[in-house]
Amino acid sequence: MSQVDQSGSDTDTKPADDAIDKRPLSEAQAELAGDQTPWLRLHWRTLVMHFVSEVTKGLPVLIGVALLGGIFSGWTIFGLSVTALVIIAAILRWTATHYRVTPDQFQVRRGVFNRSFISIARDRIRSVDMHANLSHRVFFLKKVAIGTGQSDRKRGGEIHLEALSKRDAEALRLSLLGQAVLDRTAGVELARMGRNWWLRFGPFTLSGLILGLAGVAAIAQALHEADLGRGSLGWLRALAEQISNAPVWLAVLEVVAAALLVMAVLSTVGYVLLFGGYRLSREPGGVLHLFRGLVSTRAITIEEKRLRGVEYSEPLPLRTMGGARLIAITTGLRVGQGSARGGSLLLPPAPREVAKEVAGSILGDNAPMVVPLARHDRKARNRRFTRAFWFSTIVVGLLALLWWLAGLPALWWQVALALYPVTALLAADRWHNLGHTVAGGYLISRYGSLVRRRFMLTTPAVIGWRLRQSVFQRRVRLVTVVATTSGGRQSYRIPDVGRSEALRITLAATPELMRPFLEPVGKSRKPKA
């Protein structure tokens, strides 16, 4: 039996604006008077945390100022008073913030000067995420984000509480999500971090690389502020000199090798930080629980009745290592950049076999993941190669034109000639990867090369079709089929299928919707009204 919602009800994804009610406190006063549920505060250690983090932030500046101008200079006093003001503001904010869980609402009131009242109907709450960054961890605190799952289109479907003790946070989570308990041993475990995954896939993970780069930037910033940079940058300069004196091929080789090495190390560090301690489990009550992250932990809850399918995605570097990741197609969770920051990542880069198995157990059916796909029309192959050819030709042509007209070095367009074999290889891979089918209640398509995706979308979740033909597609009678849906990327496409095949797909997936608009070839057209 499939675990994915087959009823396809989308009545719960109405526009977001009414999910979170936010208004001035004075307006809500009357409504609040009737309810006796006691208000709760944020944890007192939050104050200490703010104090410490503000002071540490201000400290380097203060020291610098003191060294320059003496301890009692006007600047020191200015800096101290700014820090003091920030701390006072934090204290005021803390004293003004209260929250409570009433039988049918989650309510927050806050704000010092503009006092506001926020309420969310409890049945609209879709996720309770807990984050803990380094300073939270030091003070055993958790930042809690309560989401209504209405962040598909824009941010803002979330309320943050900064910060609660671990116990309070978990109590809150428990009371808001019912029996969906945060327990790292409860439920049926679907997957957990493998022992050697970080070594095998870490170096090939883009979201890890992004985090790693951010870390380096932060360290560089810190060094710069502490003014330690000048001395330690000497070796960099020496290196740069050595490279500029070396022959060109050696210099290129050195730079590329160094860049690859640094990238690999950074992405591995990022991978470990983001996905360390990963665990995915199925809880009673139809909820998937995901836990991941070493320094900043994330606990994500996905209701299975909102799950519309799974995307199996293999970025090229990962694919060469035999790895893949899984992304949820679900209403209410964004597919974010790198998909690591959005909550929709179901499985971090992991061995292909594990990914397939986990996809199968999430969907409750192995078939969508293993069913063979129908190949596309051979005209689709020609199109892959034609596009590769024209892309290379245009780039080379433009560079050659610039060389001819504006004196750009000839080396540019000569190097660009390498595009022909490279794009041809990509085209071959893209053709090889194209495939689609409708089977077992799922619409399945696979495409792409640099990132190969196979999405499996349950057919009742298809809430419309777009059949597109560009000028070039019209010439060779190919169609791009786009299924629109309320979850994940909002639409999923099957590129370049033959016209008749395109219609077979739509008919197989949504027979009732499509039948009235289809006619067998040969029948005369209806006269136009």
């Binding site: 109405k14 598909d152 777009r466 629109t484 949504t510 919707l513 289809l518 136009k528």
Partner: protein, 173 residues
């Protein structure tokens, strides 16, 4: 091919039939006006650029001449071509449209999944008594626009769509 569904194997080769209705003939003028406006701005920009730079003079001129030819061709061809392509239909269960000219697109959405229905009229449309009816679904990429409808057609259509969507929704729950 091997899509395992008896539904389609018995159907054989298929064709999407044209949606039943054409848009208003006045839409040709509306599209023409839009194209004229865009090209006027582009050509004026080019002219200013050409007259204010001394180098590349001849190249600029040919570029400008080429643009004028393109503009005239598009102005003459696109609106009529669009008029032949653009079709729409609303059945008991679905909205179905075809649009485009060089590139074309068919869109289909079931009324049971429709969330909002509205009509809007830009300044040109207002001058010519036209309206665009927009239908959105729960998918951010699923909206359907029926452009260039006569005002007299659009108003009852919005009513009908709104009612149909509401009825379907109640049935569904």
């Amino acid at each position: 091919m091997d899509v395992p569904n008896p539904d389609i194997d018995e159907v054989g080769l298929l064709r999407l039939r044209e949606p039943a209705h054409r848009v208003s003939r006045k839409a040709i003028r509306w599209w023409s006006a839009r194209i004229a406006m865009v090209w006027t701005i582009l050509l004026a920009g080019q002219l200013v650029w050409w007259l204010n730079t001394s180098s590349f003079g001849e190249l600029h001129m040919w570029f400008f001449v080429g643009s004028v030819v393109l503009a005239v061709a598009e102005f003459l061809i696109e609106p009529r071509w669009r008029y032949r392509v653009h079709h729409w239909e609303v059945t008991e269960d679905a909205v179905y449209t075809k649009s485009g000219w060089l590139s074309q697109e068919w869109r289909i959405a079931p009324l049971s999944r429709v969330q909002t229905v509205d009509s809007h009229r830009g300044p040109f449309e207002r001058m010519m008594g036209l309206a665009t009816v927009a239908v959105t679904t729960a998918s951010a990429n699923g909206a359907i626009h029926i452009e260039g409808l006569d005002q007299e057609v659009a108003e009852p259509l919005v009513d009908r769509l709104t009612r149909a969507a509401r009825a379907a929704r109640e049935d569904a729950t």
